[in-house]
Symmetry: C2
Subunit: 292 residues, 2 copies
């Protein structure tokens, strides 16, 4: 069956009011389109857990740092619709920019602390754009559950905290990163890599694995772990590391000692393409903090 | 009938889910307690327009600029409950501070531009505290309609813009200011006035009326109108004017010319008490801008 394409907020609200009245549980997968198997995994989990799956496709201008990145972001809407239909999505919400931002947006949500390091440090305003548009989408769709990939771990942490601190009536579901056979995390931006860059790209995951192995083996000093992980990139001068950090998984603050679960996260530039990836790592011993 | 007192978010959510399933329309009146006839007017309008009226009573610490003002804020809960019961309120939500802020609040909503002038200039962080707690309350109660007094006109404008820009599924209803016979706008802070201060207090409303009369008579220069209105305070050295401004009613920006509806707003200190008031004024002639 074809997914129903709805570009208007008002039409979507009316359509979902029916769904809600029928007692059906609504699952929501917000995306920027250019759908790949990572999104497929979010959709699949939503299909399993809810009765009506809504996918939004909206390339949000307020979260881009460079106009060029926004302009170049792929927008294969016909393919995306087919992708959704093939996977049993019920509704695709694909609003125009003017539908989402009909007037100058004056209202913004900030998630302090959680967005301070990692990508937050290198992409000023990015997370404000992300959390604000996600809040708008959650208010429009009013889903029971919303699905986000662990690939964007800092985004996931920020949205989780936003939902908690703003008492939003939605459950956030984290879905594991989907990877190519060689370890490269799926991303819509991967299609911009040249064949030569694509061959090098899995090294990001490899560097994170180096950190993971040391942490699992009992390393306690994050600086040492980072130094060894960063050494993985040395044979590849094509790669410019933006950051490689070890942070706590809730507030995303750099840790001073490895004595609980951590997120090892990296961002690198490969030519004109920025790649991010992360792994949740657990130490061999030591006190395990509750991850709630 | 007695209003039902609910201090827990979870209990309130369950109770309101029943109400919603029964198809009843929910009206919400957020307050900081110390209820007076102004709140009574909000409740009365909610009673007329909805089937189930929820009043929240929560003295929100994050919107106070001075610890002392927060500590001194009146909290007559038993009286407030009686007040609500006598007016047919169905549910009083009165959470503890720890219920509303169970962890360090890291998430904040800012309404730019609208909160820039007037009180926003003199109470740094105040509106961030207000809009954030109102958003939390709206997410907890999920009302169909929420009622706010025009007395706090900048707050009303900020919340209206927040609801619009965040696509919140709620209708905001503005309720006219209630005044004493001598013109003083009702406020929970009025009870702090000494008898001598109370006699002087109506001069705030009088100054706004002076502005209103000039605007209605065709004045076009806001500076001249302000000067004349401010002269009203000259015989009263007990009064320290914080601001008296003429702004557009939507984005609360000072106007350069009087050619549409404006909000004339003032804040003054009378002893240790800060009083605010405002009037929506329409010019005699000229192009009337649509107020939407």
């Amino acid at each position: 069956m074809s997914a129903e394409l709805i570009p208007s907020i008002l039409d979507l609200r009316h359509r979902l009011a029916e769904v809600r009245r029928a007692g059906r549980v609504i699952g929501f997968v917000p995306t920027m389109g250019a759908l790949h198997a990572g999104h497929g995994s979010l959709i699949e989990m939503a299909r399993q857990q809810t009765d009506c799956v809504v996918v939004s496709i909206f390339v949000n201008p307020t979260q881009f740092n460079q106009q060029k990145d926004y302009d170049l972001y792929p927008r294969p809407l016909a393919e995306d619709l087919e992708f959704c239909s093939a996977r049993g999505v019920d509704i695709v919400f694909a609003p125009a920019v003017e539908e989402m931002y009909p007037r100058t947006q004056l209202v913004f949500v900030d998630v302090l602390r959680v967005t301070e390091h990692l990508c937050g440090k290198f992409r000023p305003g990015h997370f404000r754009g992300v959390t604000t548009v996600v809040l708008k989408l959650l208010n429009i769709v009013q889903p029971d559950r919303a699905y986000f990939g662990e690939k964007d771990a800092q985004q996931l942490a920020a949205i989780g905290r936003m939902v908690a601190d703003l008492d939003l009536p939605v459950q956030i579901v984290a879905v594991p990163t989907v990877r190519e056979a060689d370890g490269l995390a799926l991303s819509s931006r991967n299609r911009r890599l040249s064949p030569a860059e694509r061959r090098i790209a899995p090294i990001v995951h490899r560097a994170l694995q180096v950190a993971e192995e040391q942490i699992a083996a009992g390393a306690t000093d994050p600086q040492q772990v980072k130094t060894k992980a960063l050494a993985t990139f040395h044979p590849f001068p094509q790669i410019r590391v933006e950051y490689l950090e070890i942070v706590d998984p809730l507030e995303m603050q750099p840790v001073e000692r490895l004595d609980g679960p951590v997120r090892v996260a990296a961002a690198v530039w490969l030519g004109a393409t920025r790649l991010i990836d992360n792994l949740l790592c657990r130490p061999a011993t030591g006190q395990i903090e509750r991850f709630t």
